[in-house]
């Protein structure tokens, strides 16, 4: 704990030196998650102040970057709950089916040269929109893995969930993202048919009892624990084989990193 003034000062300096190199990474993820620079700045600042406050709780020798991201993710979740955004319920089998239809028709064209031919005219804004269309849990995993380059194990640490859940969200998040991009490509006429928009029903439609509460905007509804929402989502669709696959990988690989 902080006692002597000198020690305190040294700790502050240490923290600054250790934490500031990650500010761009944190900001980038914060910006993608909050979707505006003001909220992103606030989120990063809150993260740094919390991290500083709890710096003595950080275990030396563990992953500091992942620790900062974990604090940021918790802060984001808290703010997200306050803002009462409604989580979505996804019919993933429907997404898979339409993905398969598009892939079967278009794979050869897509491979030939998606960047300079098919996707050439797609706007950065479209890619951003596709990312933003993901429910935030999936979006977070995709960002952490594909943009920030964290390993599955690090993501599991950041999100406080099993590695299997990370893989499951990554699988779905990426597939949803790809599917949305393919859907835009179809709308622009670059590829052929049948990628109807995925139905993303909100939780409100599913649970009628909650609907009225939502409309009134009562605090109780917001308290719904996010983790259990997630568990429900995966319990529904995760088949045994997939779980087996995940377990097998968990055992065999995660020492490699």
């Amino acid at each position: 704990m902080k006692t002597a003034e000198a020690y305190e000062h040294e700790q502050g300096w240490d923290f600054e030196k250790a934490a500031m190199p990650y500010v761009d990474s944190l900001y980038n993820t914060a910006y993608r998650m909050t979707r505006n620079s003001e909220d992103a700045e606030d989120l990063v600042q809150e993260t740094y102040l919390k991290a500083y406050k709890y710096y003595d709780k950080f275990e030396e020798g563990t992953n500091f970057k992942a620790w900062l991201f974990k604090i940021m993710k918790n802060t984001f979740i808290n703010n997200y709950r306050k803002k009462k955004l409604t989580p979505h319920k996804i019919d993933f089998s429907e997404i898979e089916e339409s993905y398969e239809r598009v892939i079967q028709k278009n794979a050869p064209d897509l491979i030939r040269d998606p960047e300079s031919e098919i996707f050439q005219d797609m706007m950065d804004a479209d890619v951003k929109r596709a990312l933003d269309s993901l429910p935030h849990d999936y979006k977070m995993v995709v960002l952490l893995a594909d943009i920030e380059g964290f390993s599955y194990k690090e993501i599991a640490e950041i999100l406080d969930c099993p590695v299997g859940t990370v893989m499951s969200r990554l699988y779905r998040g990426r597939k949803m993202l790809e599917r949305t991009l393919l859907d835009y490509a179809r709308k622009y006429g670059y590829i052929r048919g049948e990628a109807e928009p995925a139905k993303m029903r909100s939780r409100k439609d599913e649970v009628k009892g909650r609907k009225k509460k939502d409309e009134k905007g009562e605090e109780t509804d917001v308290q719904e624990p996010e983790e259990s929402e997630e568990e429900v989502l995966f319990a529904e669709a995760e088949d045994e084989e997939f779980e087996f696959e995940v377990e097998e990988q968990e055992e065999e690989r995660f020492e490699v990193e």
Partner: protein, 75 residues
């Protein structure tokens, strides 16, 4: 190995996150299966595309200044 098995782990395969033994099985299947080979390429191209288009955004300088200031006050 069936195509369904391949599809289920293709992302993890691309990440280099499957065991050595599994990777060999997957690679063998991919070599013999045109569809799965194509699918793998599509996934990879789309991911590269997304990564390229979502170029990292750096934190604004005024934020960095503000952070350092607020940390020094917090001390």
């Amino acid at each position: 190995m069936l195509c369904d098995d391949y599809k289920r782990v293709v992302y993890f395969f691309l990440d280099g996150s499957v065991s050595q033994r599994r990777a060999v099985e997957l690679e063998t299947h991919r070599r013999d299966c045109h569809d799965c080979d194509e699918r793998t390429l599509v996934h990879r191209k789309l991911r590269d595309f997304v990564k390229k288009r979502l170029a990292p955004i750096s934190a604004p300088e005024h934020l960095k200044v503000r952070l350092v200031q607020s940390l020094r006050i917090a001390e």
